[in-house]
């Protein structure tokens, strides 16, 4: 029973992180129709920013804020400088470009920070929660993980549904030309979309790293599962990303604990295939395909 609960809770925590990562991918997909494979190393490098600050003796929270802020800047700069020229071009160009960025950021991080493992602190306890002599794997940090991702999701919903800037971002994502006619500075919205996505990606990087080890490749598996989660939910649907992430996190945790650790990746493939065979554009795709 305890094993069951532990497996479920670790899966849930991991699923929240996948969800955040998938959400970052969805934000970028919606605004620029690009799958950003460089999201993982971008998050990795902002986590290193936090690590440098923490290692310099400053508080975790300063590092945390700095990582999110540098994510914001990094996302905006990358969109402006590198991505802008391929927007609206064939999708494969953008895919190769983000793969190229993936490799470059990776190599740069390895050169600057070395390729060794470093430990990354957590702001809250890493000990499980005790109830009646039974320890549940719900640590303070896990609670923080779940809450912060939930808060980010609520903030995003509020931003998109209830603010003018959110409305402009959505409009730009759906129809750039009409948005321009209505006075929306579309390019600025795209930059903002990338910047916000990079912040959410950075958050997922910090949460994966918290109380664990980081190295330049520590986010690599997250990009796969995060992307699978986004595809599961439907790339256009932020809600789908969250559901996809949770579904994947919990099921993979059970596969790892009860079937075999080496079948985790296979299980993710199986889940994806089953879902896509039933719904080829993800669980939460709109009934109407917007292909013209």
């Amino acid at each position: 029973m305890q094993q069951l609960l532990t497996t479920f809770l670790t899966g849930l925590t991991l699923g929240m992180v996948y969800a955040a990562f998938a959400l970052a991918l969805v934000l970028i997909w919606r605004s620029t129709r690009i799958v950003n494979f460089a999201q993982a190393p971008m998050a990795m490098i902002t986590t290193y920013v936090a690590l440098v600050i923490v290692d310099a003796g400053m508080s975790y929270w300063i590092g945390f804020a700095a990582a999110l802020l540098s994510g914001l800047v990094l996302g905006a700069v990358i969109e402006r400088v590198v991505i802008r020229p391929v927007e609206g071009k064939p999708e494969i160009n953008a895919i190769i470009l983000t793969l190229g960025l993936f490799v470059v950021i990776h190599a740069v991080a390895a050169i600057i920070f070395g390729s060794g493992f470093r430990s990354f602190p957590a702001p809250f306890g890493l000990r499980g929660f005790e109830a009646g002599g039974v320890t549940i794997a719900l640590t303070g940090f896990a609670v923080f993980t779940i809450c912060s991702v939930a808060v980010v999701m609520l903030l995003l919903v509020a931003l998109f549904q209830h603010t003018d800037i959110g409305l402009k971002m959505r409009a730009s994502a759906f129809n750039q030309e009409v948005s321009r006619m209505l006075g929306v500075k579309v390019t600025r919205m795209l930059t903002l979309g990338w910047a916000l996505a990079a912040v959410v990606g950075s958050l997922s990087g910090l949460l994966i790293a918290g109380g664990s080890l980081v190295s330049p490749s520590y986010m690599d598996s997250v990009v796969v599962y995060g992307f699978v989660a986004a595809v599961l939910g439907g790339l256009d649907s932020p809600g789908g990303a969250v559901v996809g992430g949770l579904l994947l996190g919990v099921s993979l945790s059970f596969v790892s604990g009860y079937v075999g650790s080496d079948l985790v990746a296979l299980a993710s493939l199986a889940i994806l295939i089953v879902v896509l065979l039933v719904r080829p554009a993800g669980l939460f795709s709109h009934a109407t395909a917007r292909r013209v």
Partner: protein
């Protein structure tokens, strides 16, 4: 479409260009291939140099830790070269990155053997990676010395792989020694195994089961690369295991400790040597939570084994030598157990090269290593090298970590594969290094 049907002729053009490029780079065919039967100088040996090659993961997931090994070896070779080299020859040490991908290992080993024309390979790391090239090296008759991996396949069949030698104690004898120690000292423990799902796990489990088959209540395997080990540790906890034997790499020692903390799971831990570098694990875990871990070493009290003196043994003559070498020739960073590992392999290579005589040949060094057996060197236990076995160091001792220091619980225990008995043998442990820090081995035979 036109361009598709024209392709074939264009391809011809490309190949020509490729040939030109290749020809420029290759500088013509080497005159003496590996099959040289002339009396001329041996491949990789000149009047004043000996070239050796190595493949290590310098990038990618396996790079952390392992990429330090060649820096140690390099420092020791620099030390030897600064003191005149071996028989007047400087050792040129070429390291190539394989990213722990056997495909790349194969490519860079080709490069080392065919282009750089190394005399021998030294300390190439990894089981799957080195499996890819072991047949090639043997068919090219390149001495393949001291593979950095505990798989038994490097040494258990010298007929099939006459040029390949293991170095560290193989995982099976480590499993045996740990198993016997548990059977003797903790006969009532309920044992859980935490295994890496490859030859490390398989060979060690085989060794352990020889002694405590009935005590094992649970086997949990993780796949290298999947850092979420909570399901495995939860399964061990659920089984009620109160002693966990971990045959895993260092990162997973840290991860298993972290997850155990989350689950409030406090069994006795016994990590195999490969995963127990206390300094590395300590630094990995130093930042975690509640201050408690920061002050007390999380591995305090953990059991493990050792087969060469580690960086903690500051009063050991070997470690003092390594420290001296590193201070003088090391690059960035400080002396670590990985670097000591690299230096110890480099030391063994210098021994072998000396034993191969003034004009070493590939065949000659192989014969010399087969006779190296009990020669003095840093390992605590003798090598098992002979014409019938190319397995490396024959044993180790069980230690308990107190802070960052390893406290021996047993004398050095030596054994061999299969049913070979475990015996005490402290003979090699007492050897100190020569005053010069450079071995003085007489040519063999």
């Amino acid at each position: 479409m036109k361009r598709w049907t024209k392709q074939m002729t264009r391809i011809a053009g490309l190949i020509t260009v490729g040939a030109l490029v290749a020809a420029c780079g290759a500088g013509g065919r080497p005159s003496s291939g590996s099959s040289s039967d002339t009396a001329a100088a041996e491949v990789g040996i000149t009047k004043d140099t000996v070239t050796v090659g190595a493949t290590f993961p310098l990038t990618g997931v396996a790079a952390p830790g392992y990429s330090e090994i060649p820096t140690g070896a390099q420092a020791y070779f620099d030390y030897v070269n600064a003191n005149g080299g071996v028989n007047g020859r400087k050792i040129k040490y070429i390291v190539r990155d394989d990213g722990y991908n056997p495909t790349t290992t194969s490519e860079v080993t080709n490069e080392l053997v065919l282009k750089d024309q190394v005399f021998a390979m030294l300390g190439a790391l990894g089981t799957p990676t080195h499996s890819a090239v072991v047949d090639f090296l043997n068919s090219e008759k390149v001495p393949d010395l001291f593979v950095s991996s505990g798989s038994i396949q490097w040494g258990n069949d010298p007929k099939a792989k006459p040029y390949t030698f293991g170095w560290q104690p193989d995982y099976e004898i480590e499993g045996k020694i740990i198993g016997q120690w548990v059977a003797k000292n903790m006969p009532d423990a309920k044992v859980g195994l935490f295994l890496q799902d490859d030859d490390l796990g398989v060979d060690s489990e085989k060794g352990v089961r020889r002694y405590i088959d009935k005590q094992i209540v649970k086997v949990a395997k993780y796949t290298s690369g999947n850092t979420d080990v909570a399901p495995q540790i939860a399964a061990l906890k659920a089984s009620g295991a109160d002693l966990v034997l971990g045959f895993n790499v260092p990162a997973y020692t840290a991860l298993s400790q972290l997850v155990a903390m989350k689950l409030n799971y406090k069994p006795k831990w016994f990590y195999a040597n490969i995963g127990s570098d206390p300094e590395l694990i300590g630094s990995l875990l130093s930042k975690f939570s509640e201050g408690a871990v920061g002050k007390v070493n999380p591995l305090d009290g953990v059991l493990t084994t050792e087969y060469i003196p580690g960086v903690d043994a500051t009063d050991n003559a070997w470690v003092q030598l390594w420290q001296k070498v590193w201070d003088k020739h090391g690059k960035d960073g400080h002396l670590t157990n990985y670097r000591i590992y690299g230096m110890s392999e480099a030391y063994a290579f210098v021994q072998a090269l000396q034993a191969a005589g003034k004009n070493p040949t590939r065949k000659g060094i192989v014969d010399a290593v087969e006779k190296m057996g009990n020669d003095a060197g840093p390992p605590l236990a003798p090598f098992r090298y002979s014409a019938d076995s190319h397995l490396g160091i024959s044993g180790m001792r069980v230690v308990q970590l107190k802070g960052l220091v390893a406290d021996p619980l047993t004398p050095v225990l030596v054994t061999d594969l299969g049913a070979a008995p475990i015996k005490e043998d402290d003979s090699a442990a007492k050897d100190g290094p020569p005053a010069s820090g450079i071995p003085e081995v007489k040519p063999a035979g």
